[in-house]
């Protein structure tokens, strides 16, 4: 579905991502694991063209390397970015409306979003900035879903959330996979993300150092020690 070849992201002289290649097949959940500063967020920014990058990105075998962010959104590649990035001064409802700015059926999707996260319906008139961190994260995920993603990329969806809410979000992801969505997941919580993933890549200082089936990685001694803390 998505194939990335030799993707590099530089910030001035800092090389955040160094010629990485990876792919996501249709209907898969793929995780990217790695420590802080390994280049996970930059890799997603590169795929979404939020930052400039070198290398090739193919989507459904079509070269989309020259596409801007909104052109990629139009194709169904949706990023739910780190730190939520909700529009704090806009109401919850307006945030969701912006989610379907380019694509997605607003009427249909808003029902689904409210069903998945009922708290958002209660707060729909409230400014997004007044929500709690967990609610904002739900809003960020809901906003990404408003555009009917074909490939959903989530950057640290569990960051700073209570375990109950993390479970809720992961449950939602499994549900989405079942409905046929492909998901690229970047997570600090490696154990949780490997459990729902099909495959995973391990990123270290901008390079992919390892990749395998999620099940194999879960039993890998080295992975266990460095990333799972078992």
């Amino acid at each position: 579905m998505l194939r990335v070849e030799n993707l590099s992201v530089n910030y001035g002289h800092v090389k955040a991502v160094k010629e990485i290649s990876f792919e996501i097949k249709s209907g898969e959940i793929v995780s990217i694991l790695g420590a802080n500063g390994a280049g996970k967020t930059s890799a997603l920014f590169g795929v979404s063209a939020v930052v400039k990058s070198k290398g090739k990105v193919f989507y459904k075998d079509k070269d989309i390397s020259g596409f801007t962010t909104y052109q990629r959104v139009e194709k169904g590649i949706i990023l739910c970015p780190e730190n939520r990035r909700v529009f704090s001064g806009l109401s919850v409802e307006e945030n969701l409306k912006m989610g379907s700015y380019l694509r997605g059926n607003y009427q249909k999707n808003i029902e689904t979003a409210y069903r998945m996260f009922p708290i958002l319906k209660e707060r729909k008139k409230q400014a997004a900035g007044s929500l709690s961190g967990g609610e904002q994260q739900m809003l960020a995920v809901a906003r990404a879903l408003m555009s009917d993603p074909e490939l959903l990329m989530l950057d640290e969806p569990s960051l700073g959330l209570a375990p109950v809410i993390v479970d809720q979000i992961f449950k939602a992801l499994v549900e989405l996979k079942r409905s046929g969505m492909s998901i690229l997941l970047v997570e600090q919580n490696a154990l949780k993300s490997l459990k729902i993933s099909d495959r995973a890549y391990i990123l270290e200082t901008g390079r992919i150092v390892h990749s395998d089936d999620a099940k194999t990685l879960l039993n890998d001694e080295k992975v266990k020690k460095s990333y799972l803390g078992i």
Partner: protein, 294 residues
């Protein structure tokens, strides 16, 4: 009676300050740059209106041309001057707007010279007069009335546009979080261009509306720029209606100072207001609580 009269004369002037402030703050909130070339962009548009008027003798067509020119100028400034430096620094963008200010003034001098041109009012005719009490007489010039109605009308229209339309919400979204607005599929370059276009066209409109009073010269908008900025500071750059209210307060205050103290002190008072506001209430009189740049 004198105070009522100064209020009545201050409101139309203030409404124009407000319109000026609306454009400046719209650009500031969305793109994050204080546009120093705002007034001169309006001045240049007023010259366009003057030229069209001299050729066609049609005032409405002339004003329309100025506004359209303003929109185009805004788009061009964004596309060719702002976009290349957008992610480098806000300071760089600020310096560029200073450059545009000087270039526009120089160009206007070269093309049209420094001698003032007169410009027609929208409506002429005897002012409305009201008698109040024994010997009270209030004078309300028709043109002033029309200017107030136009300014308030456009402000309300724009506020509604920003509040309810999809593109309007997208402008507010982009002003709050650039990455967030990119990932939902908003074309941020297009939005920035649109905001520059709307902003400069407002200045163009102010230019043609104030031209009958200031005459059309390359320096006609110098005060407008300063007063527009002050109105923005007064009302708060964060509120939609704040700039127009700030403008009207400023217009009234200016007339009152002019009548009761001395016209010489008008500018001094304005500068004092900037300093006091920035020192004691930098978010402005009508600001909502601070939410990023908006």
């Amino acid at each position: 009676m004198l105070i009522l009269q100064s209020i009545i004369l201050g409101i139309p002037q203030g409404a124009l300050y407000g319109l000026m402030a609306f454009g400046i703050s719209l650009i500031f909130r969305t793109v994050g740059v204080m546009n120093f070339s705002h007034g001169n962009a309006g001045m240049f548009s007023a010259f366009i209106a003057l030229t069209v008027f001299l050729l066609t003798q049609n005032l409405l067509l002339a004003i329309l041309c100025a506004v359209i020119f303003g929109i185009l100028l805004g788009f061009l400034i964004e596309k060719f001057l702002m976009r290349p430096v957008k992610h480098l620094s806000h300071g760089g963008m600020l310096i560029i707007t200073l450059g545009i200010l000087m270039i526009l003034e120089g160009l206007a001098q070269i093309i049209w010279g420094v001698n003032p041109f007169s410009f027609n009012e929208l409506v002429s005719g005897p002012p409305l007069m009201f008698t109040l009490g024994e010997d009270g007489l209030l004078i309300l010039p028709l043109n002033d009335l029309l200017i107030t109605v136009i300014s308030l009308g456009i402000t309300i229209l724009l506020a509604v546009f920003l509040k309810v339309t999809k593109v309007g919400i997208a402008i507010r979204a982009r002003s709050q979080d650039e990455v967030g607005s990119k990932v939902v599929g908003i074309n941020t370059n297009m939005i920035d261009g649109l905001v520059w276009g709307i902003g400069i066209s407002l200045s163009a409109l102010v230019g043609v509306l104030i031209a009958p009073k200031t005459t059309v010269t390359p320096t006609m908008m110098m005060n407008m720029q300063l007063y527009g900025f002050t109105a923005g500071v007064l009302g708060g750059f964060t509120s939609l209606y704040g700039s127009i209210l700030g403008g009207i307060i400023l217009g009234i205050l200016e007339k009152i100072v002019g009548i009761y103290i001395s016209p010489d002190y008008q500018l001094t008072i304005i500068l004092l207001i900037i300093i006091l506001m920035l020192a004691f209430k930098p978010s402005g009189l009508f600001a909502k609580k601070f939410e990023g740049r908006v």
